[in-house]
């Protein structure tokens, strides 16, 4: 067992630390995008089943997060941002985190299968495997493209939410998946640009550490440029109305503009990295509002406010 402070482990872990293992901060966005995917889907679902599906997605994401922290406890211990997490902080042993992660994952997938559908449960199981194994264990320590691939894990919730309602896969939920997939690299690399010292200390091949700042900035810009037409594709294929289409244009236009500012500049020591911090903050706002507009668009169509 490896922990920063083994002497502190004379007590059973506090329930709050188990809760912290599920990364509640990340879960907010997971729940929000899953609810939006569900509300935007054409069809109806009983409120109890809708609640159950969202709960399963959230608990599955929590299980994957716990497994991620079980595996990465040593890395978390050397990074300032993560050193206080329950395992590196010495408040929980690794075995408890592992068992907790597997239990949450198993319960969420089984409940999803029994209550909603086995298609949704299968995709949920794959998303947990994708994050906890493909991303955490396999790709994160091996390639600077880790975030590109890891973005897939965060892109599953709206897809699963949509499928929980309709029962089958169509282009619309796949597009929602792709939007989050393309959004993640610029979102995360903006953060990585201003915390890159931490990643190099932990030996994680994060893009700014491996390919350098210049290349990372260009790639942020490239992803933002692809995100603009991609975010509007649901409108182009007739999956949404103009309310979503125009919102996507404005929001993604702003995203591209902020990415230009990050992409075309060279940072100087001690310049505060303001454009990067602004892009990171905006990227979170962007995803919240984009998905909220997707739901607003659907309700406007139902109410007959648009064709």
């Amino acid at each position: 067992m490896t922990t920063a402070n083994p002497q502190a482990l004379i007590m059973p872990a506090d329930w709050r630390d188990f809760f912290a293992l599920t990364k509640p901060g990340v879960m907010r966005l997971v729940i929000f995008t899953a609810v939006c995917g569900m509300l935007a889907a054409p069809g109806t679902i009983h409120p109890v089943l809708a609640f159950t599906a969202i709960l399963c997605i959230a608990v599955g994401a929590g299980g994957a997060a716990a497994l991620n922290q079980w595996w990465e406890a040593d890395l978390d211990a050397v990074m300032k941002r993560t050193a206080k997490r329950p395992i590196p902080g010495g408040r929980m042993d690794r075995t408890s985190a592992r068992d907790f992660g597997f239990a949450l994952s198993g319960i969420s997938v089984m409940t999803m299968g029994l209550a909603i559908s086995w298609l949704a449960a299968g995709i949920l199981a794959f998303s947990i495997f994708y994050y906890a194994y493909l991303y955490t264990v396999w790709l994160k320590p091996r390639t600077p493209q880790n975030i590109v691939i890891g973005g897939g894990a965060g892109a599953f919730p709206p897809l699963i939410g949509w499928i929980a309602v309709t029962g089958h896969i169509t282009w619309m939920p796949v597009l929602l998946f792709l939007i989050i997939f393309m959004w993640t690299p610029p979102h995360f690399w903006a953060l990585a640009l201003f915390v890159q010292i931490d990643y190099s200390k932990a030996g994680i091949p994060m893009m700014p550490v491996v390919a350098g700042e210049r290349s990372t900035r260009w790639q942020i810009l490239a992803y933002a440029a692809v995100l603009l037409p991609l975010s509007m594709t649901p409108w182009f294929i007739g999956g949404t109305g103009w309310i979503y289409g125009l919102s996507a244009l404005l929001l993604s236009g702003m995203f591209l503009w902020l990415s230009f500012k990050v992409g075309l500049r060279t940072s100087a020591p001690g310049d505060g990295m303001k454009p990067e911090k602004r892009l990171f903050a905006y990227s979170i706002f962007y995803l919240f509002i984009l998905f909220a507009m997707l739901v607003a668009d659907r309700f406007a169509t139902i109410l007959g406010l648009q064709a």
Binding site: I10, M11, P12, A13, W15, H46, V48, D93, L114, A115
Partner: protein, 66 residues
């Protein structure tokens, strides 16, 4: 449960702290299990009362015969 207490007896304060921590965990576990009972009961009721997907809407069957 984590590490043993270094093979020494617990002090009274440590025992109290340990029991308090266990009680807190048990309470949370009880609440979660209770919640799951209610949730699974609700799911079962919804599933039992749900109409089959292609069932005719209420009243249509009689209308067809009349």
């Amino acid at each position: 449960m984590n590490q043993p207490f270094n093979d020494r007896p617990l002090t009274a304060a440590e025992t109290d702290a340990l029991r308090a921590r266990q009680r807190e965990r048990n309470k949370v576990m009880g609440l979660i299990l209770g919640f799951l009972v209610v949730l699974f009961f609700a799911i079962s009721i919804v599933k039992i009362t749900a109409k089959p997907e292609h069932a005719p809407a209420e009243g249509t069957e009689q209308a067809e015969h009349s």
